[in-house]
């Protein structure tokens, strides 16, 4: 009666509640041996909770987990490892200051009398790395290697533990299209050897390319499981969102006007290494166009924006905004003509312990409208916040006096967008404005940015999502290792070509050259 079941892992009728919400409501997920199974759902659909249950981090209120038909209890990650389950987390679980080898053996060390025995481990890792073509430098520190190599380290961690069930949580977010192809080949290879793969994602293209079957979650509920061969992207997105989704952004061709922002030979030093994070970059943004900076995460986009907005000090070149040289101006003076939707809404965008109304005047509390002789005009702040909340449909428990921390991610982002758009400046810098949001909020934010463009604003967008880049921008600039390597017209390029630029394999801007 071995292998009584055709499934290696079954999660049956899992229900997991938190105060106020059912994160998982009667969810069933069955994984066959040797298949690639996609788990599809929006942010907040309950995918992470389900995986935490599988890893014993949460105990479900109802439901059971079976391995090869046998009911098992998983109380902590050790139990999961013992059952051969391994996972590549979306945010890599690596110790930055440890070497690659230390990271791989951590938690599964070979020891003699408590002392680490690394020779044997090194041999095993080297062999695995050769066999699957997962090139890594075992003695490098994790903080010094590329994101792609970090992901290979994560995969090697699973292989080192002889895991048979491999879970990939949103593994493609940080990769170029070419690296994504490589990863998919590796996944197919694993499946071919009889390992079972669970592939968590919200990207439909990737599912169609690699998965055998798809299970869909929506708002904590199980929607269904389909064979990829029997479905299409439209049906899947319908299952994921629960309605027809506008996959394309509706916008008219841009009609660029005057130049608003100009960078010349702009450089910003790095916090991490001795080279410049942004090196000799020149470009301009005109009124009425959306220019998108595209590239793999960590190629200098963050520093570029910090250099323009004043959060970092540049070490070369100039920034001109509305005809004024602002290269050495304070953050506040720059704010006179630009608004900034920051990359990290919790770090920069909001003071989480302030109320919504306090956050709404974060840059403007010194305006005569909101203060008199150094005393804040509380009533003016209140009515201003009420207007923004109304106008931009920001939902919160107690209106203006809601503490920002207690709001949902989507509404926090809406509040930032309301604040920045309402400041009504000629330049809007938006960095990953839709990260981590659900489809409804993404649609809303895209529409806002397009309408601001149509009102004659210059929009500088930084995005890692290729689909967003392709659909929203009027002009694409590609950044690679701190330099601009390509300028592309989204109507005349495709994702594959963009990927080659992002990986540094192609460039159409010479070194020190400029994009107009």
């Amino acid at each position: 009666m071995e292998n009584a079941s055709e499934y290696v892992i079954e999660m049956l009728h899992i229900t997991k509640e938190f105060p106020g919400i059912k994160a998982n409501d009667d969810i069933t997920l069955q994984l066959k041996k040797g298949e690639i199974h996609a788990l599809l759902g929006e942010n907040g659909a309950g995918k992470s909770t389900l995986m935490s249950v599988l890893f014993g981090l949460y105990q479900p209120e109802q439901g059971e987990i079976r391995k090869n038909g046998q009911v098992v209890r998983i109380n902590d990650p050790n139990d999961a490892t013992a059952l051969g389950i391994g996972m590549v987390h979306q945010h890599f679980q690596l110790i930055d200051v440890f070497t690659v080898l230390d990271n791989i053996v951590l938690g599964a060390e070979t020891t003699r009398m408590g002392f680490l025995q690394k020779k044997e481990a090194r041999r095993k890792v080297e062999e695995l790395s050769r066999r699957y073509g997962l090139a890594v430098d075992l003695d490098a520190r994790v903080e010094d290697i590329t994101v792609g190599m970090q992901q290979r380290v994560e995969i090697l961690k699973m292989l080192y533990r002889d895991n048979e069930i491999l879970i990939f949580d949103e593994p493609t977010a940080v990769l170029t299209p070419q690296e994504i192809n490589e990863l998919m080949n590796t996944m197919r290879e694993f499946a071919g050897e009889g390992k079972s793969i669970l592939f968590i994602t919200h990207k439909l293209n990737e599912i169609m390319a690699v998965a055998d079957r798809v299970s869909v979650l929506r708002k904590g509920r199980y929607i269904g499981t389909v064979n990829t061969a029997d479905t299409d992207k439209r049906q899947l997105s319908n299952m994921m969102v629960g309605r027809d989704v506008q996959l394309e952004v509706v916008k008219t061709p841009a009609s660029p006007g005057e130049e608003v922002l100009r960078l010349e030979h702009f450089s910003v030093p790095s916090h991490l290494h001795k080279r410049n994070a942004v090196n000799d970059v020149s470009f301009s943004v005109r009124a009425g166009e959306i220019v998108c900076i595209s590239g793999i995460d960590g190629n200098g986009q963050t520093e570029l924006v910090h250099g323009i907005t004043g959060l970092d000090r540049p070490n070369g070149g100039t920034v001109t905004l509305c005809g004024e040289n602002i290269t050495h101006d304070s953050i506040r003076r720059r704010g006179k003509n630009m608004s900034h939707i920051p990359e990290d809404r919790h770090k920069h965008g909001l003071v989480l312990d302030f109320t919504l109304e306090q956050n709404m005047v974060l840059q403007r509390y010194l305006d005569p409208e909101f203060q008199r002789a150094g005393f804040i005009r509380q009533d003016a702040v209140r009515s201003y916040a009420e207007r923004l909340i109304e106008q931009y449909d920001v939902r919160s428990g107690q209106g203006p006096v809601t503490v920002a921390r207690s709001m949902s991610g989507g509404n926090q982002q809406k509040a930032i967008i309301a604040r920045e758009v309402d400041r009504d400046k000629p330049l809007i810098i938006a960095v990953q404005p839709t990260r981590g949001l659900d489809v409804g909020a993404i649609e809303y934010i895209h529409a806002q940015l397009v309408s601001e463009r149509d009102r004659g604003k210059a929009v500088l967008l930084v995005s890692l999502e290729l689909e967003e880049v392709m659909s929203l921008s009027d002009r694409i600039l590609v950044m690679y290792e701190g330099e601009l390597v390509g300028e592309l017209d989204p109507r005349q390029t495709n994702v594959q070509e963009l990927g080659l630029y992002m990986a540094g394999a192609k460039r159409n801007i010479g070194e020190g050259g400029s994009a107009t």
Binding site: E17, F18, P19, Y58, Q59, E61, T309, L311, S330, I331, R332, R333, R334, G335, H340, P342, H346, K347, H348, G349, L350, V351, L352, D353, F354, Q358, L362, Q363, Y365, L366, Q371, G374, F375, I376, R405, S406
Partner: protein, 417 residues
């Protein structure tokens, strides 16, 4: 009633009261245990100690039969208010820094510098050259200035070099202790008139007349009739100044743009910078304000005219400085709450003196109680959560209990030293 209990302020108050009660109970238990094991202390002596811990402020001594007597003791209450003055000021100092995200453990050093600044000025201006009130004011302001400079140092190294302000404060504390000893050592302000005591500086009520220090020729804080209200005590107008300072700090932090900036820096330094607020300037400013408040506390204490300063202080730091921390914690950094917390701490102080005077115990037990209260304040968040849950009776599942209020601690992040 339900609305009252749901208010956040009420929960904070309850959790503070709970901390106080626990601290007192721990102190009482300690006294009992020591009483049981000590050969020198009888069981009834231990019981007296416990009673004094809880109600020492109402003690009036012993009667002819040797039993403790109780009642309103105006001297005790007046002295309590007098001792509360510096505690309220250092409490405000710690609270202001806290609101800006800084842990001002440097209050003892700022307090010492305030002592140095105010006493030096008060005793150096010859009596009669200026009106007494003006000398008092000058001395007070110089004390504040010294405190501002001393507070700004850890602020500066934090802002510019990103050194953990706790370590910087500790070092400046000890530097201040040595500096103050040094300065007084080379000065001629050592009290040689009253031969019974050595190691003390003249009281501020001594004035310089023809190169000689003479009693009652110097400055002392106005009493405003408070001495008649609490006869036999040291109370003076300082307590009123402290209360005014608390109100001023409240207005500063809650009603002004400067307060908004300071709080923004404290709650999220990155977001403040993003918004164009000069975070470094505000860190220095906040520490300087904290320094002024601590130093003002010292000035008020030592300009009273009847307090004297033990100048060889290089091996010890003033408790009034450290006790600003529990005062601020108990008050949950609310400036008005600081007034009450300061008075409570001063009451413990009086209780300690009563213990020393009337029993075989000593005043250090009150420091233990204070330490317990600080310890409990460290996890006041958890206590508050417990209180909240008690009221609602909607016990969430075990897993969820482990969740903090949305990573409240994580947002603060570690201090990069």
């Amino acid at each position: 009633m339900k609305g009252f209990f749901q208010k956040e302020g009420t929960v904070k108050l309850l959790s503070s009261l709970l901390s106080i009660l626990t601290g007192l109970v721990v102190g009482g238990i300690l006294v009992l245990i020591v009483g049981i094991f000590s050969k020198n202390i009888s069981l009834s002596g231990a019981w007296e100690g416990v009673r004094l811990i809880f109600a020492g402020i109402l003690s009036t001594g012993r009667d002819a039969a040797g039993a403790l007597t109780w009642g309103f003791n105006p001297a005790n209450v007046g002295n309590m208010l007098f001792r509360a003055t510096p505690l309220i000021m250092t409490g405000l100092s710690v609270a202001v820094a806290f609101k800006t995200g800084l842990f001002n453990i440097g209050a003892p050093g700022q307090y010492l510098m305030g002592t140095l600044g105010s006493l030096m000025v008060a005793l150096s201006i010859p009596a009669g050259t200026l009106p007494r009130g003006l000398i008092w004011l000058l001395a007070f302001l110089c004390g504040c200035l010294a405190g501002a400079l001393w507070g700004a140092i850890p602020g500066l190294v934090k802002a510019l070099l990103n050194i953990n302000e706790v370590l910087a404060c500790i070092m400046t504390n000890w530097i201040a202790a040595n500096l103050v000893t040094w300065a007084f050592d080379v000065s001629n302000l050592k009290n040689v008139v009253e031969n019974t005591k050595t190691g003390y500086i003249y009281k501020s009520s001594y004035g310089l007349v023809n190169g000689q220090y003479v009693a009652d020729q110097g400055v002392s804080t106005a009493k405003l009739g408070l001495d008649r209200l609490f006869p036999g005590s040291q109370v003076n107008a300082g307590i009123l100044i402290a209360v005014l300072a608390a109100v001023a700090v409240y207005i500063l932090m809650n009603k002004t743009t400067l307060g908004y900036e300071l709080k923004a820096c404290g709650a999220n330094r990155h977001a403040a910078r993003y918004a164009g607020i000069r975070d470094k300037r505000n860190i220095v400013l906040s520490m300087a304000i904290a320094g002024v408040l601590s130093a003002a506390g010292a000035s008020l204490y030592y300009l009273s005219g009847n307090t004297e300063f033990f100048w060889t202080t290089y091996q010890s730091l003033p408790g009034e400085g450290f006790n600003g921390i529990p005062v601020a914690l108990l008050a949950m950094n609310n400036p008005i709450g600081v007034v009450f917390a300061g008075i409570f701490m001063a009451m413990l102080n009086i209780v300690g003196l009563q213990l020393t005077k009337l029993t075989a115990y000593n005043e250090f037990i009150t420091d233990v109680i204070i330490a317990v209260i600080v310890y409990l304040s460290a996890f006041s968040l958890v206590i508050r959560m417990l209180l909240t849950r008690r009221r609602h009776r909607e016990a969430p599942p075990a897993q969820a209990q482990a969740k903090p209020p949305e990573g409240a601690e994580n947002a603060k992040g570690g201090d990069e030293t």
